[in-house]
């Protein structure tokens, strides 16, 4: 593994790393992340821990639908349940890299060693975030199973659009991780109390992602923001793949989408295309943000500080 003359921490050092090295580093970080996340408890306890948050979150929203009663039909319930179950993955993906920065800097005090290792910090954080995303995916899957078993969610495996599901997942997960990297860039600058920033950020994302209500209920500027958000398209794609013909979060009477395109709701190809485009832009912006934050952290000596209060 060659390291360029750019020196430790210089972004140019990545030039010396081949794709194989980068993949190896990301894989190692993913495995490390999995061990760090999972080895504090026995497997049964860890499994319970993994699902308890997403299931509770889903129940919270399902209850909101249930108490409204007659005015909320079965399709609304399915819409909300599926959206909230998927949300666990997003929250994990967002929190993963940010928490890795805070943990490695403040708790284990290894961030400086990671930074000065041969691997690039960005790749390592993607790996760490990936492990948390996988854990979040487990939570989402169990939440959906719970919804099928207890909440009357009906999923017909034969009707699931598996290619669309696979494509939405493959295209949707990188921008989710990219958003996490963006938050990691923020946490690189902020103090230890930033632990709940990912939660606060994902709570705000809830508003503009069409997870539990159609974007059309938002004011126009927020609706437009929602359409630029890759998470909106990811959730819409997964939802459409699992429940084909179900209600969509994008489009509908009075929506910006319908006003602009004249169609009631986007089709699978449009969803995937929009997911790819918005995802690519988000990934580029998040990477640039992280690079800028990394540079500033190095300039200000933030990589090995402890900041508790």
């Amino acid at each position: 593994m060659a390291v360029t003359a750019g020196g430790i921490g210089d972004s140019r050092r990545v030039e010396g790393l081949g794709l194989a090295d980068t993949a190896r580093h990301a894989w190692a970080a993913l495995l490390l992340g999995w061990r760090v996340e999972s080895n504090w408890a026995d497997p049964v306890l860890f499994a319970i821990y993994t699902v308890i948050r997403p299931v509770s979150s889903m129940l919270l929203l399902t209850m909101m639908v249930a108490i409204v009663g007659g005015s909320a039909d079965a399709s609304s319930r399915t819409f909300v349940i599926l959206g909230s179950a998927l949300w666990a993955m997003l929250v994990s993906g967002l929190a993963g890299p940010a928490w890795s920065v805070l943990e490695d800097r403040e708790r284990y005090r290894t961030l400086k060693y990671l930074y000065t290792s041969g691997a690039t910090l960005l790749v390592l954080l993607v790996g760490r975030g990936g492990s948390r995303l996988l854990i979040g995916a487990m939570g989402s899957l169990v939440a959906i199973l719970v919804a099928v078993a207890l909440l009357g969610l009906r999923i017909d495996p034969a009707a699931v659009d598996w290619p669309l599901l696979l494509a939405a997942m493959l295209l949707g997960l990188p921008p989710v991780l990219a958003l996490g990297i963006g938050l990691a860039a923020v946490c690189l600058q902020t103090r230890q109390e930033s632990w709940n920033y990912p939660d606060a950020f994902s709570g705000a994302m809830f508003l503009v992602s069409g997870v539990v209500f159609p974007l059309a209920v938002l004011p126009r500027p927020l609706e437009a923001l929602g359409l630029l958000n890759p998470v909106t398209w990811w959730v819409a794609g997964v939802r459409r793949a699992i429940i084909p013909g179900g209600p969509s979060s994008i489009g509908g009477a009075g929506s910006l989408w319908t006003a602009v395109t004249g169609t009631d709701a986007p089709g699978p190809a449009v969803i995937l295309g929009a997911l790819f485009l918005t995802g690519a832009v988000t990934t580029l912006v998040a990477t640039a943000l992280f690079r800028g934050s990394e540079r500033r952290a190095r300039d200000q000596g933030l990589l090995d500080r402890t900041t508790g209060s």
């Binding site: 909101m64 606060a200 705000a204 539990v212 209920v217 938002l218």
Partner: protein, 309 residues
């Protein structure tokens, strides 16, 4: 070494309370170690202020929290408001969501800044210094809470005020004194619970952190963060009996939105105020007792200063 002792005895050798300066000049170590109840109480009070100090200072030193602790939570609360609007639920539910969103700031403060905090203090090397100092650890925990309260209160007031304005929430408070009493009792019971949890978590390493993490959504659900807790039936009653957040939130809702007809199946606000009094006493006593027991267990196991668990 037989030089005559240069420390001056306390005036007249009487057991009157020595000032801290006198205490440092006490004639011999045994006299210096004997403190009156007043001295002990004064030291604990000062420790409380001392520990709150960095948190309050931190608020001003790094203002990024204004965005993450006020603006984003407002957006998160808005998302739940819009769920009800999308479901065409009665407007009273919007008020429930706004109140829940505001009060959740205090639960988050208890969970993040108190219950799991001793684990962080251990990681940072502060815990053993706290134990080696003459004040009670309870005063340190209260100091953390008081410092965090400044930020939480700002968040709660901001979310409440902005949401109430934006979503035109109709509050109809008739018994202000009872609202104030219930609010104060909710805080005392919450922080009593926080202290109890903090002492229990003293024995653990990362488990404490993960338990802290897992106490957010499940507690939100059983406490009825966004809906009347009475609608959960037996689960809601159990929450009212055990979780200060649940009982405080329900009482505040009853007092802020009387006559909505949607808050059924729970005790009256007066009865819930009494429950909060009982919780305050119970949790405070339990926290004091468990802190003593668990400190001894931790000293026995040697876990007070083990880091990176």
């Amino acid at each position: 070494m037989s030089a005559p002792h240069s420390r001056e005895p306390a005036a007249g050798g009487t057991p009157r309370a020595m000032t801290p300066a006198e205490r440092r000049r006490a004639p011999d170590p045994r006299a210096a170690a004997d403190w009156t109840a007043r001295q002990t109480a004064e030291t604990n009070l000062r420790a409380l202020v001392g520990r709150a100090y960095p948190r309050v200072r931190g608020m001003f030193r790094e203002p990024s929290w204004l965005f993450f602790e006020i603006f984003l939570p407002f957006l998160g609360t808005s998302a739940y408001v819009l769920v009800y609007r999308a479901l065409r639920a009665p407007e009273a539910y919007v008020g429930f969501v706004v109140l829940g969103g505001a009060l959740s700031a205090f639960w988050l403060n208890v969970v993040w800044s108190m219950a799991g905090q001793l684990y962080w203090e251990k990681s940072q090397g502060n815990l053993e210094l706290y134990f080696a100092a003459p004040m009670s650890l309870m005063s340190v925990l209260l100091g953390m809470a008081a410092g965090g309260l400044a930020m939480s209160s700002t968040r709660a007031v901001a979310v409440l005020a902005i949401s109430a304005l934006v979503y035109a929430v109709p509050f109809h408070v008739a018994q202000w004194w009872l609202v104030a009493a219930v609010f104060a009792l909710t805080l005392t019971a919450l922080y009593g619970l926080g202290m109890m949890l903090a002492s229990l978590f003293l024995l653990w390493g990362r488990e404490a952190w993960h338990l802290t993490n897992v106490m957010v959504e499940p507690v939100y659900f059983v406490s009825g963060l966004n809906f009347p807790v009475g609608r959960l039936g037996a689960v809601g009653i159990a929450a009212i009996a055990t979780i200060p957040f649940a009982v405080g939130l329900d009482a505040m809702r009853q007092l802020a939105f009387p006559g909505s007809g949607l808050l059924t199946g729970t005790p009256t606000p007066e009865a819930e105020a009494l429950i909060l009094v009982a919780m305050t006493v119970l949790f405070s006593v339990a926290a004091h007792w468990s802190m003593g027991v668990i400190e001894r267990m931790a000293r026995s196991r040697g876990s007070l200063s083990i880091r990176w668990q």
